[in-house]
């Protein structure tokens, strides 16, 4: 594997880490309005308070990593999805400060709860829209984006926006199943069932739409003999969904979360099948956009040492705060 491909995989890993980690805490924000004021909401928030900041760091890693490893792609993509990105950034402001602000000002807690929920929803939706906008293809001329600032808006990008919103809600609900007990956990089971059905519908809809967006996507999925490999992805989705339904039915506490992660992983693989080896879908290839070798090697040295270390201490932090959040006193 050459350096640009290796970096594409590292970035894909960072994006996946972001999606599943921030996914569940954004998901809790998305479910927030449905949770009862008081204890339920406090517990839900406390279940992610010690880790949300680390989760969001993967987003900076994704953005910074793209700038570093594929500067041309970063330069073309960001102006193309200008509006959803700005919306996401502002939404994350509202949602991030709510973690602290809501405890400081009980009289206005309703407002910061709203800011937490609204920020989480808008951030999730905007991320999905950005993904859809890139998948449907953007106008590129030379080394720059050549379209307008509303090109991102389409039925497909709205579909991907809603899909990610529901998918994150699924991660949030299954996380709550794992971290809570009693009434809140019962509700979480209920929401996990709804979000699970929703996620499945969305996966099917996006999967049906994507191959017809671009001829290349169609080829990558259905050309012989690729199809022998690519057909495994939907097959695994079916299996994962079936096991997921069963795990909810039998009220397993950890399995639903793990299967939600599996569904996200499979969706990510599906995405990779459609796009690879492009980095700006349909416009710029990995190698064309890659930074010079001296940049990639310099970073690879650091990344190969630091990413395992990061994963180790992140795991440690999660382990410190393991177990049910119900009887916790923090905040």
């Amino acid at each position: 594997m050459d350096l640009p491909t290796l970096w594409a995989f590292i970035l894909a890993f960072a994006v996946f880490a972001y999606v599943v980690l921030d996914g569940f805490d954004l998901g809790i924000g998305i479910l927030f309005p449905a949770l009862q004021r008081g204890r339920d909401r406090d517990q839900a928030m406390n279940s992610v308070a010690p880790v949300w900041d680390g989760n969001e760091t993967w987003l900076v890693m994704g953005g910074g990593g793209l700038l570093a490893a594929f500067p041309l792609a970063y330069a073309i993509v960001m102006p193309a999805i200008y509006t959803p990105i700005i919306a996401m950034l502002l939404a994350l402001v509202f949602r991030g400060v709510a973690f602290e602000f809501r405890w400081r000002d009980p009289r206005h807690q309703w407002f910061w709860d709203l800011s937490f929920a609204g920020g989480s929803m808008l951030a999730a939706f905007a991320q999905g829209v950005a993904l859809g906008a890139l998948l449907q293809g953007i106008a590129v001329e030379g080394r720059a984006y050549a379209g307008g600032w509303w090109d991102w808006l389409s039925p497909f990008s709205i579909l991907t926006g809603i899909s990610l919103l529901i998918g994150y809600a699924l991660l949030g609900a299954t996380w709550l199943i794992m971290k809570t007990e009693g009434r809140l956990q019962d509700r979480a089971f209920h929401y996990a069932r709804l979000a699970g059905i929703g996620t499945l519908v969305c996966i099917v809809a996006v999967s049906l739409a994507t191959p017809f967006l671009e001829e290349a996507y169609y080829q990558r999925w259905f050309a012989w003999p690729n199809v022998l490999f690519t057909a495994q992805v939907p097959l695994l989705v079916v299996i994962a969904t079936a096991v997921f339904g069963l795990s909810l039915h039998r009220r397993y506490e950890r399995l639903p979360f793990l299967l939600a992660l599996a569904l996200f992983a499979l969706s990510m693989v599906g995405l990779g099948v459609s796009v690879f080896p492009d980095i700006v879908p349909g416009a710029v290839g990995l190698h064309e956009a890659a930074a010079p070798e001296s940049s990639l090697i310099f970073m690879l040295v650091g990344a190969s040492i630091l990413i395992p270390v990061i994963l180790a201490y992140t795991a440690y932090a999660y382990w410190i705060f393991r177990g049910k959040v119900g009887h916790e006193g923090y905040h």
Partner: protein, 477 residues
């Protein structure tokens, strides 16, 4: 309202706005993280509970400030692409990896241990908790290291080549990181952050001394802050001078603008204390100047000649009035800091540190001085670098994204509204926390000050006496 502006100017205003707003928070948290580590270390070492009380007092403020720093910082990592895409494409191979290292070494470290630092005291015990605090403090410093390496390279670019696509290609990473202005800029910035923190801590201590001079927590924090100030402020003056000389060597036009030296002075340039630089008439209006002092400061010689801005093409000039004034504001604040440090030292020698009310009033007034100085300093160096993003090589006008002005204008308006609304409220909460005096055993959330806690959380578990650290983190919040 903004229709007269083009996309370039709007993008510049937007970046200046978001980066300045962002830097307010790290300017405070870099120092505060270190201060918290010192407090916790002193508590473990001496066993004096006042240090634990102060640790708990300040960690609430730290948590709020840090959250605002995080969310405003994420914005920046994407703004390079949204608003400065050509810069990202050209300079990405060099600036990108430096920022990636910042994420990998610093951001993850801070974020990973922040949860333990804020919420984990009961779960991990004293020693590991202290390690987490140290990790966060160290993370903030590492973050400064990398981001200033990137910024300094943009100011004094070396160690690169330019490829056929016009991209800056790294040739020697050592040279790129340790570029000529980096050591000065890093030291100056970190000291600035430490000074900012000691001025805030000092102001809060002084405020509570004015109300109750027997408050032990207030006495300790005031004493520590003033001690830091008398050490760091004079060092900062020296470092600032060295940084100025370094700038003089690598970015002479910036210094000419800072000094308002339009004319050439073959036998020694004056120092303008005051004046209104006018680019139209190419002169300083209403000047108050000291002859030859400019040459003394810049060249350490009274008669050293200075070649003025008039010898440089006008399109190479930065906006002279802005840097002229931002520099004077920064220096003025710096001198006031030294004055406060000296007065506090005097008071300490005469054993009146906790009694001299005018000193306390002065310290309260100086509370925001660090923020003012830090922002003015950054304005000086960043505006002074204009019209370039990568100095001498890539013009700001060439760096901008191909965006329509309305797109940039609407996002700018959105940023201004959201930042002012959200961060003003956050600042209000911080001031509210500072308004409460530090109390023995910092009850924080019991009795009269209960509202900080939300109602309805289940009671804390029984405290395991073997792991008791004060009481528990519930109080620390």
């Amino acid at each position: 309202m903004l229709e007269g502006f083009d996309a370039l100017l709007l993008a510049r205003i937007q970046f200046a706005f978001t980066v300045s707003f962002h830097f307010i928070f790290p300017a405070f948290t870099i120092g505060l993280a270190s201060y918290l580590a010192v407090l916790e270390g002193l508590w473990i070492w001496t066993g004096r509970t006042v240090f634990l009380d102060l640790f708990r007092y300040w960690i609430k403020i730290f948590a709020l400030t840090f959250a605002m720093g995080v969310v405003s910082g994420i914005v920046l990592s994407y703004q390079f692409g949204t608003n400065w895409s050509v810069f990202s494409d050209r300079a990405g191979p060099i600036v990108g990896p430096l920022m990636a290292y910042e994420v990998l070494t610093a951001f993850f470290l801070e974020a990973g241990f922040l949860g333990i630092m804020l919420f984990g005291m009961n779960r991990v015990g004293k020693g590991l908790h202290f390690a987490a605090t140290l990790a966060v403090a160290f993370g903030t410093l590492l973050s400064s290291f990398w981001i200033l390496a990137a910024n300094s390279w943009m100011q004094t670019p070396v160690g690169h080549a330019i490829n056929e696509a016009g991209q800056f290609v790294p040739v020697d990473w050592w040279q790129i990181i340790f570029n000529p202005s980096f050591p000065y800029r890093l030291t100056h910035t970190v000291l600035g952050a430490y000074l900012t923190t000691s001025l805030v801590v000092g102001a809060v201590g002084a405020w509570h001394l004015l109300r109750d001079r027997s408050n032990d927590g207030a006495r300790v924090m005031f004493s520590m802050a003033m001690g830091m100030l008398i050490v760091a402020a004079p060092i900062q003056v020296v470092v600032g001078d060295m940084h100025g000389l370094n700038t003089q060597e690598h970015q002479p036009v910036k210094i000419l603008a800072v000094e308002g030296h339009f004319e050439s002075y073959p036998d020694g340039a004056p120092l303008y204390l005051f004046g209104l630089p006018d680019v139209e008439t190419v002169s300083v209006q209403y000047p108050i100047a000291i002859p030859k002092l400019g040459s003394l400061i810049l060249h350490h010689s009274l008669d050293a000649p200075v070649e003025g801005l008039k010898t440089v093409p006008k399109q190479e000039w930065p906006p002279v009035p802005i840097v002229f004034w931002s520099f004077r504001i920064m220096v003025g604040m710096g001198l006031l800091m030294v004055a406060l440090g000296v007065l506090a030292l005097l008071a300490r020698v005469r054993r009146r540190l906790y009694e001299w009310r005018n000193l306390h009033r002065f310290a309260v007034a100086m509370g925001p001085a660090g923020f003012v100085a830090v922002l003015a300093g950054w304005v000086t160096t960043e505006v002074g670098r204009q019209p370039y993003t990568v100095y001498g090589l890539l013009r700001t006008a060439e760096s901008v994204s191909p965006l329509d002005a309305p797109a940039v204008a609407s996002s700018l308006i959105a940023f201004v509204i959201v930042y002012f609304a959200v961060f003003s409220v956050g600042t209000w909460y911080i001031l509210h926390l500072m308004y409460h005096p530090p109390a023995p055993a910092e009850p924080g959330l019991e009795g009269g000050t209960a509202p900080i806690r939300s109602a309805g959380i289940t009671p804390a578990p029984a405290v395991d006496p073997n792991r008791t650290i004060g009481t528990d983190e519930q109080e620390a919040r």
